[in-house]
């Protein structure tokens, strides 16, 4: 009890610190931009080194997945694994939209590298989800 009141009285936790950039519109902007362009959420908040590395590595990974004849999965609720793969694919943002626009990502199931391609494509999207969460934490002032 004493420890609790002590903590509440004198020490400030991360949750109590003022959050200059925690306005909902700014959080939403950061998250949407971070989804559309990998690393943009960090660049917007002045984390240039991190943002540039994400901006290069994640689309590069996605591009390798396409080059390896990986498939961009459709949103099919009837097949849960395909559905989860589709969610992972969409995590990369604009590169996914561009690939769809240019009819890339049809996937060649007979290619030796097909599964490798799928792995690269899905991992790129899933890693970008983590990058979005990190940008969200930065915007909240947690990091």
């Amino acid at each position: 009890m004493i420890e609790c009141s002590d903590r509440m009285g004198t020490k400030s936790t991360a949750a109590e610190r003022p959050r200059a950039s925690a306005e909902p519109w700014r959080l939403a902007t950061v998250c949407i931009l971070a989804w559309l362009v990998p690393g943009a959420g960090h660049l917007l908040q002045g984390r240039r080194q991190k943002g540039l590395i994400f901006l290069v590595t994640l689309p590069f990974m996605f591009g390798i997945g396409l080059w390896l004849q990986g498939r961009l999965f459709p949103l099919e609720l009837s097949d849960p694994l395909v559905f989860l793969g589709a969610i992972a694919n969409r995590g990369i943002g604009i590169p996914y939209i561009a690939a769809r626009m240019f009819d890339a990502g049809a996937g060649l199931v007979t290619a030796a590298s097909y599964e490798y391609g799928n792995t690269f494509l899905m991992t790129a999207g899933l890693l970008n989800f983590l990058v979005i969460l990190d940008a969200f934490d930065v915007a909240l002032g947690r990091k």
Binding site: I64, L68, A112, S113, Y116
Partner: protein, 58 residues
């Protein structure tokens, strides 16, 4: 298309460890250390698992 499976695995490990190291650490030196350790872990575990699976037919 001829691609080395090992090379693809190395490339995958390199990219994933880079992103994780940059996500988890803030200082460039720490990022490099974490990235190298993670990359080494990926490669060595894959190499050991590959050899362990070698005697078993598909």
């Amino acid at each position: 298309m001829t691609t080395s499976h090992f090379l693809l695995m190395v490339l995958y490990a390199l990219l994933v460890s880079t992103v994780f190291a940059v996500l988890l650490r803030d200082q460039p030196r720490e990022q490099l250390k974490t990235g190298v350790m993670m990359f080494g872990g990926f490669i060595s575990v894959a190499y050991v698992l590959g050899w362990l699976m070698f005697p078993f037919p598909l």
